[in-house]
Symmetry: C2
Subunit: 419 residues, 2 copies
């Protein structure tokens, strides 16, 4: 894309009323626009990142046989009354509600009720199980405190996966598969997630699990083994800093962290309440065993920028960066030959399938261009200048390194693809 055509611009000033790093960086760099507390619009650069995150998650969900659906936001009151969550708990505390005539409807903060109600129409026998269904969709929650940018939204993107099983053991096996898929997702997003025990949310005697990423911007606190053998959310743990890891005897640490995902057993709570039963091999009618698994997609974008940045701006990992390459044309008097070369590089790399933002603007100084590029945080910066053009080369620099390499123009595509 041509940067001269991109309608957003970066801003030097700090956005008013924002304290969290992710909100400040993402707004200054033009990824998001704040509509109100906890509600953001995704601008072109931000939308590209969000789509890449979604595509990674979609791929990994399909690898574990997830079938994608797209459920409605508007939810009938009757569904929530079946699980007694309309006037209590989630429905009372965080659900937005609208009136249509004299009928009340809710905006989905989560979809256990709705999906279980759908599934029961199709699952009759143990032969219809197991199955896993997911969606990537906008959720709504009345958050009392929405001060952490994309980390806690009133309107936010979420991938929610639900699994349905005939037996507890089958559920447990699938739970392990999801755990592995989640680690792959966070790795591809450039994050080190720590598998953390958390509280049981009232309907399971066992722990649930969170994926936590160490960050001073996080709203959680975890006590964890530095070698990742053990971690518990501070809310439930009896361990403290300096205690020994129950697995490896290493010394436990404590840190603020961002919960980027959670996975938990639902047992038969929803299937019993919604009437989702199946006939087992032995002919008996049994409630379906369920699990649910969430990842906040917009929160993940917030977490990446919260964790991966320096004093100059964001440092996007390649797989979720809005573009892989930021090509920069330096403004000089005799710009025609430079521009020709830059355009050739731009079209050539695009043709070889590389996402590229081309800063073709002539009214910005080199200093301004570099500062903007660092703020936006695209992984590879390529500079076309008079000096290197004599050698048929360009300067290539990785966002998180100081070293500048001189690369021959006709080796560029190969160089970038080998990285």
């Amino acid at each position: 894309m041509l940067q001269s055509k991109l309608f957003t611009k970066t801003q030097k000033e700090m956005p008013r009323g924002e304290k969290s790093i992710n909100a400040v960086l993402l707004q200054r760099a033009g990824f998001i626009y704040k509509e109100m507390s906890g509600v953001y619009t995704f601008l072109p650069l931000g939308f590209l990142v969000l789509r890449k995150i979604e595509d990674i998650i979609r791929e990994e969900m399909e690898r574990i046989s997830g079938q994608e659906v797209f459920m409605s936001v508007l939810q009938p009151k009757e569904l929530w009354q079946k699980t007694d969550r309309w006037s209590k708990g989630v429905g009372k505390e965080i659900m937005y509600k609208c009136k249509v005539g004299d009928k009340e409807i809710g905006l989905g903060p989560t979809h256990e009720e709705m999906l279980t109600d759908i599934i029961k129409n199709y699952v009759k026998s143990y032969e219809d199980l197991p199955l896993a269904v997911f969606q990537i969709q906008t959720k709504f929650r009345k958050e009392p405190r929405a001060k952490s940018g994309l980390l806690r939204g009133r309107e936010f993107g979420m991938k929610d996966l639900y699994s349905f099983h005939a037996t507890e053991q089958d559920f447990k096996d699938y739970y392990q598969k999801v755990k592995k898929a989640y680690f792959r997702i966070f790795e591809r997003c450039g994050l080190k997630a720590i598998f953390t025990e958390a509280s049981g949310a009232g309907f399971t005697r066992e722990y649930t699990h969170e994926f936590q990423v160490i960050s001073e911007g996080g709203e959680d606190i975890i006590v964890y083994c530095p070698r990742h053998h053990f971690a518990q959310n501070k809310e439930i743990t009896k361990f403290k800093v300096g205690d020994r890891c129950p697995v490896c005897q290493g010394v436990l640490k404590e840190n603020k962290s961002i919960e980027v995902a959670n996975i938990f057993p639902l047992g038969d709570k929803y299937s019993k309440a919604m009437g989702a039963f199946f006939q087992d091999k032995d002919g008996k009618k049994k409630p379906i065993i369920m699990g649910c698994y969430g990842i906040g997609t917009s929160r993940l974008m917030g977490a990446i920028s919260e964790v991966l940045h320096d004093e100059k701006g964001i440092i996007w990992p390649s797989q979720v960066a809005p573009f892989l390459v930021h090509l920069i044309l330096l403004p000089v008097k005799k710009i025609v030959p430079l521009r020709k070369t830059a355009e050739k590089i731009y079209l050539g790399l695009q043709k070889s399938g590389i996402d590229i933002l081309y800063d073709d603007r002539e009214d910005k100084s080199a200093g301004e261009k570099f500062a903007e590029a660092d703020l936006i945080g695209i992984p590879w910066r390529i500079v076309v200048s008079e000096r290197t053009l004599e050698k048929d080369s360009v300067e290539v620099k990785k966002r998180d390194r100081k070293k500048v390499e001189l690369i021959k123009i006709n080796h560029l595509s190969q160089f970038l693809k080998s990285k």
Copy 2:
């Protein structure tokens, strides 16, 4: 995908309370699930169609320089008060509203206010214009009558594009570009759209334009030239059936039709109200000239099934079909060699990039399988049977034709790609 794993099943019974063809067919075939009047969930097959429609639209929007964003659903009251649409018009009549504490917020039925408010932060000079911004997102409207399935939703998918210009002429040129892009979109979706003049929506003296598709299931009526030289919505026209086309003198017809899109000039209504001005070449401050262009994505899915079906089920056009090929294994006693061949075909076609649904179920009769395949409506049906296997061939049939062709198995991929 293996059909044995697909969690939805087709149903023979008519869904209760549905009269429109699209709602009946899409529910019976397992594409959508009705949550409440005008609110549907997209099941795996429906989600695939929706994504293909979205991808076609996205591609055509990018071809006309559209920059994609994703705006929030929750909209502050203050934005709508600036255009006086909170307590009147759209805001009064069709906007869902929620309370958060004592603050009122709306669920976006459209995004002129929000986008103009964003744009004004980035557009300062005529050099920042023109620009075009679009999103594909869920919209919410309190429709009093929501009886036409996906054709009129309370919650529905929409692509909305907004364009911003320094001059009226520039706007008019872009309007023509969008018109062409829209015709390409409908052609790729298998629909013949008629460009129709409609009423000016109060803020323009000129007509706006709708893209109408002839269908008995439509809620509009148009008077049109059969050679598509002229068409007007019955709401505004002075012409009647039998009158002469003002362009070609052909005899005008009248028919019910589905409005699949609309495009209209906004002039400076929103830019003036929201304070979106720019400095022109002559140094003068001027309001930005705007246009807006909508396509209902879920409505388009409804329109396709409403128009393209027969008594047996839906007939999806290739580019929006959930799968290109429906491979059917016929149940026989000695099924092992048949299954082996079918699996080979399944994996082979998948490898060559063809979307394929493989009906691998053994507990369904040939008759049941064919009836289900016709209801679901995938373009190409391939049947693996004992009879043709002797000739290393399979039976291939197009959904909308009677002719069955015998194709050698190792020519299949080539055959399908040549179509």
